[in-house]
Symmetry: C2
Subunit: 756 residues, 2 copies
């Protein structure tokens, strides 16, 4: 067995890729994965989804609790040691709400309920769906003119300023897209708006994409997107208990004290209703990129007729139910391989989250099956079905916070899913697991293309570079680099960095547990019913993964990750890819600072020369942009030195691993594991990020102004973007320090491997 | 007087800008331009537009001829020696036409007439407007499934190939935009389509931009864009008489022999009708960039119900009427300053072309006035009101061809306009006139911004670089360079190169007469009624140039150009800007070849690796792209040497001009003029461009696949783009040869200036 690993390791070195855990490696039974696959049943997953998606299952709904209990029973049936862990969290529910247009040509009131659709379970479900609602909006009763703010992101407010339009005292209407939902009302409030309406434009989410449900997969005019608007960029989890588990006796903030609960009322509506509101807007015609696909002239407003927006909620604490299932490791019970997916949805939640949840259950079934056949994981496996992800990652965050110290001691990695559909493998996460991911992707076949899911992913990466989704030169350059890497079979295909938006956040960003998020997608049609009552089993079966084919592929993919990570007694990290990626990030930071410096200079000269004023159309309101701060020199020397060192340490570690890991004594192995298991925690020093110290990871974070989208080396990157240049210099040093600590560990581990 | 010029020349040298003709220079009365301005009357131009736009005035309409006769009378009143020159040209007119959807849910027939609008002259005009029509389409009666081809440009057909959709035997429907109208049916026919429908999408041309007429300026659902679909990229003018004037006895091709007349039927429709046709399409959903703003799911087709398209025309020769007005030069009668604008429109044609035409008339009035006051131009001035521009630049081209030899001997420059509206000065043309243009722009004030029109243009150029209209990196880079230049007051602001689409084409591209096209625009709202019956005096007065303010600015701008060019006995070219621009073009060519080479390599490897196939969605039809040809090394040495030499020669010439032009003897001045008057003809060797030798200019041409858009150094650029690499090498040499001939002239002229 050791010989086998040595052979594999040697071949990996030949391919220049360093350490990895492959099928059958490290003493694992080579037939194990085949046996695992053999029991994966698409029809079973379909049946389970039908059960779990039979009623609305948002937090505090009866069916949400019932699902947790049903899953608990399932885990026990599969032979797992399972229990439900409860937390008490702030979770408002709507009591009353209104969106109406006053003084328009005819009276108009928005429909804040979605009609059932005949022939779909959403029509027959006994429990009523949650009406239009944005979790943790601020309640209120406001009447004001309306202003259209496009996607309601930072750049949109800059454009408004150039148009001479102010949202102070107004209600804004923003369309979904371009950034996380929660940023829209937050930025609106920051700019003085008194209310916020968010709608789904058919260009982004409706007939623009395809026929609407039930004729096609897309959002019908009456469909709207529920969701949370908690300020997740400050901290995740229960708004009242930042940093600690929301147990019964936890010390709590009041709702008013909580900095993450919005202060203004906000509601989502469908484009059927939005059309009426948007058509009532006067003022300037919007810039071209602000137009949607409604058959109207999009104007910025303000509207002459006023809009009345009222939301009233019930704000008591509610109980949430995390299901925790444990399969104890035979050799390393105190090393945990964690794997989770949430079970709460907004309505029936078939695609989101149950398509990920039933794959998780299917894996649990097969792991139980293998255990019954006599297989035992070396490491402990913990399967987690989270509650309350939708309102703001509450189930996972409260659990991670409640068990933080233990997780820092024991967690090897956390694998997350949160929905799945037909298409391409998409993995994001810690780059020291990139090689681990590649090894798995090499061993799973894609049912459509008949190549491996890894090779299909490579093809996808190469296609993306050919027609980039963004014109941002830095994105275009990154895609091109990634395509080059993906085209080289001797290299691993790159995985993306994690931002936020699902349950990995507390693990990777708060605790420093390396994490992966896994999904198939891009060929299904999930977008159109996202967070609506039309996210049903029927919709999923017709449009997202007919035959539950990619559900099986997902279970096989994540199953392999769990089998390999839990079946080994060696570290799962490979260091080179992480080091190379860090070098890329530092290059990006330098480029960012240079571009920003040039932009500030150009704009400064344009302001001096009155270029904005001279070129403005005097028949329209307009304003100068806010002057950009001049960008001082930023000291990248420490980061340059740290990445240079990291590359050297990474190569030394990977080489030593390949040469010696297989023949290591048990004692040295233990020391090696001890060093490497928590190596990613070197990236999460206590200081955390500027403004938001809950986020401790200096390499990966959700953007303060993107929400879902990752910002890498965020202490530096966002400081440059946000003109906090002192922070930029300070965090350049701190980030370099974190990388040096990572290198220290690698050096120590390499010494152990070298027998020193 | 000579002293004055010497002083001005010296100050110009100090500013580093070389030779120019400024107000009051070269013996001109400094008060002349003030007196010219003083008589410019906005209300008079408004009255004249009302008269000329009172009835439809397309070629062969009674009012078109009446306008020519009315203008002739006007010129004579103004004191000019004027006459009408006639040509006999092919000009079909519609007899019968149909667009209908067969076998749809309900019978549908497109409306091919535009409704009158109450309160607008278009409602009261006695003559009926031309129905929906595309001049020089091919007639026919076809019934076939419909395919949507987006803008119907080359890239769209590449995308169709990737979608696995073929237009062979189909009727295509293309939307207006992204390239010249005439390319759409031509490319459709090239790909085997049997008919072509072109419509105006509201995203590009309708409510997407603003409210529709009469509530706002934009195209109403029933409005459509008429226009020519002759293959103007092969040669301009009468389809039957390429290269020669279409006089009564000219040798003619038959219609069937003419390579520029389309072989398939084609018609334009409005978006009200297009919606029905597009909604009938099945097949794949289109790529995102193909979507318009109709409230439908855009699909590529083919349609299950068939479309019936029928066009029948009357194909006889028609007479066209060019008005030619001459004011003889007092000293240099055989040096001609030409200035033109067409008078034919598609219906009333208020904006296009009459907004340019009435400014031309106003200039002619004031030149006549000045002459009556005793002023005399040194050079002869020729004012030209062209007929038949709309069908394909016929009036100007036939006249230029008929008088080609004389024009090559006598023409100093040709100044064109073709419509005007509120906004920014926009000049395109020969770069050796860039400095001349800048001097004029420095002396005209912008009524809105209260800076000069030149400074406002500079502001506009700088704004364009801030938010580029295209994401093409080469365009972005060019805009950035131009903005840098525009920000430097010691440099001239850059003018763009001329492509085609108006009457300058025969002059600059066929004869080598340097040319300028001048317009104000970008703040008016002309697009929405372009080539429709709603292009009326009412529309123009309300939306395009209320108060005819910019009409006056245009007359003052072009008036100055004419006064300065005709009032001087010195060359009007400055060489440095031309040389610098040529260097930019050569850099672009190198970059183009490099990018193309890299793209071919990347794509080649992707085809080998089956990346397109592996990444395709198997539930949708799809196809591989056509393999790009590998790009061989292209020899730019001759071009590099030629531009190096050109820079040296240009600097030497401009320096010598600044130092000595003012004190030159009459004899030397005559030799200098002789050399410089025809210097631009060194760029138009007899060989002409590949595929289309009518286009002789090796520096400026309309793109074979853009139509309006310029391609600079087209012999090389298009050869690289179109993978004709032998041509690329050959034309690199020929273009270098042309530049060397230009340098030869500069050297000779510099020698004359130096007294050698």
């Amino acid at each position: 067995m050791n010989r086998l690993l040595a052979l594999i390791a040697a071949s990996l070195v030949a391919a220049g890729t360093g350490a990895a855990l492959s099928a059958g490696a490290d003493g694992m039974d080579p037939s194990l994965e085949q046996r695992f696959d053999a029991g994966i049943s698409s029809s079973e997953m379909s049946d389970w989804m039908k059960i779990m998606a039979s009623e609305p299952n948002h937090v505090s709904s009866p069916h949400d609790k019932a699902n947790a209990e049903w899953e608990l029973k399932k885990f026990k049936e599969f032979g797992w040691d399972a229990h439900i862990e409860e937390f008490q969290v702030l979770y408002p529910t709507p009591l009353a709400e209104t969106v109406e247009l006053l003084g328009g040509k005819k009276p108009f009131k928005a429909t804040l309920q979605e009609k059932p659709i005949k022939g779909d379970t959403s029509a027959t479900a006994k429990d009523k769906p949650l009406p239009a609602y944005l979790e943790y909006q601020g309640d209120g009763d406001v009447t004001a003119p309306l202003v259209y703010v496009n996607y309601g992101m930072q750049d949109d407010y800059k454009a408004l300023q150039r148009m001479g339009v102010d949202v102070k005292g107004k209600i804004v209407i923003a369309r979904y897209g371009a950034g996380w939902r929660g940023l829209k009302p937050r930025l609106a409030a920051d700019h003085g708006a008194v209310g916020c309406i968010i709608y789904s434009d058919p260009a982004d989410d409706g007939y623009g994409h395809d026929a609407t449900y039930p004729q096609g997969p897309e959002r019908p005019p009456q469909g709207f997107q529920r969701g949370s608007v908690v300020d997740m960029t400050l901290y995740a989890g229960d708004p009242l208990t930042p940093g600690v588990g929301a147990t019964k006796d936890a010390k709590r903030l009041t709702r008013e004290e909580s900095p993450v609960v919005l202060k203004i009322p906000a509601l989502p509506i469908g484009y059927g209703d939005a059309k009426v509101l948007l058509a009532a807007l006067g003022g300037q015609v919007v810039p071209e990129s602000w137009r949607g696909q409604l058959p109207i002239t999009y104007r910025v407003g303000p509207s002459a007729p006023k809009v009345h927006l009222m939301v009233k909620s019930e704000w008591s604490l509610k109980t949430i139910y995390d299901v925790v299932a444990v399969m104890k490791g035979s050799e390393l019970p105190d090393e945990w391989v964690l794997r989770g997916n949430h079970h709460d949805g907004w309505v029936e939640g078939a695609a989101d989250p149950l398509s990920g949840q039933v794959a998780l259950l299917e894996e649990a079934k097969m792991l139980g099956e293998l255990a019954k056949q006599g297989w035992k994981p070396k490491r402990t496996i913990v399967y987690l079905s989270w509650d309350a992800e939708e309102p703001g990652l509450l189930g996972s965050t409260e659990w991670a916070e409640a068990h933080g110290d233990e997780l820092k001691q024991k967690a090897v990695l956390y694998i997350n899913t949160d929905g799945n559909e037909r298409g391409f493998l998409d993995v994001a996460g810690s780059h020291d697991l990139e090689h681990f991911v590649n090894a798995v992707a090499r061993d799973v076949n894609d049912p459509e293309s008949r190549v491996t899911v890894g090779d299909r992913r490579r093809a996808k990466i190469r296609m993306e570079a050919l027609s980039p989704s963004s014109h941002d030169p830095s994105v275009v350059a990154r895609l091109k680099d990634q395509a080059k890497t993906a085209a080289d079979p001797s290299k691993d295909f790159p995985i993306d960095a994690l931002g936020s938006g699902s349950d990995y956040s507390a693990f990777i960003e708060h605790l420093g547990v390396p994490a992966l998020n896994v999904a198939y997608g891009d060929e299904g049609e999930n977008g159109g019913i996202y967070h609506s009552r039309y996210d049903t089993w029927e919709h999923y079966s017709r449009f997202e993964d007919p035959g539950f084919v990619y559900e099986a592929v997902l279970a096989k993919t994540v199953g392999r990750m769990v089998l390999r990570a839990s079946g080994s007694d060696l570290p799962i990290q490979q260091a080179w890819n992480f080091a190379a990626t860090m070098c890329t990030y530092v290059s990006e930071l330098k480029k960012l600072a240079d571009n920003k410096r040039e932009a500030a200079q150009t704009q400064g000269k344009m302001l001096t020369d009155r270029v904005f004023e001279i070129s403005a159309d005097p028949t329209k309101s307009h304003g100068d942009p806010t002057a950009l701060k001049p960008v001082p020199a930023i000291d990248f020397k420490a980061l340059d030195a740290a990445t240079d060192r990291l590359k050297a340490s990474a190569k030394a570690y990977d080489d030593a691993f390949a040469a010696n890991a297989a023949s290591l004594s048990a004692d040295r192995k233990a020391r090696l594991r001890e060093l490497m298991r928590s190596i990613d925690q070197t990236l999460t020093p206590e200081v955390g990020l500027p403004v938001r110290p809950w986020f401790k990871n200096l390499i990966y974070a959700p953007g303060r102004f993107t929400g879902y989208g990752a910002k890498t080396m965020p202490g530096v990157r966002e400081a440059i973007e946000e003109e906090r240049f002192d922070d930029a210099n300070r965090y350049a040093g701190l980030t370099a320090g974190a990388l040096n600590a990572y290198s220290d560990r690698l050096d120590q581990a390499a010494a152990v491997l070298a027998g020193k």
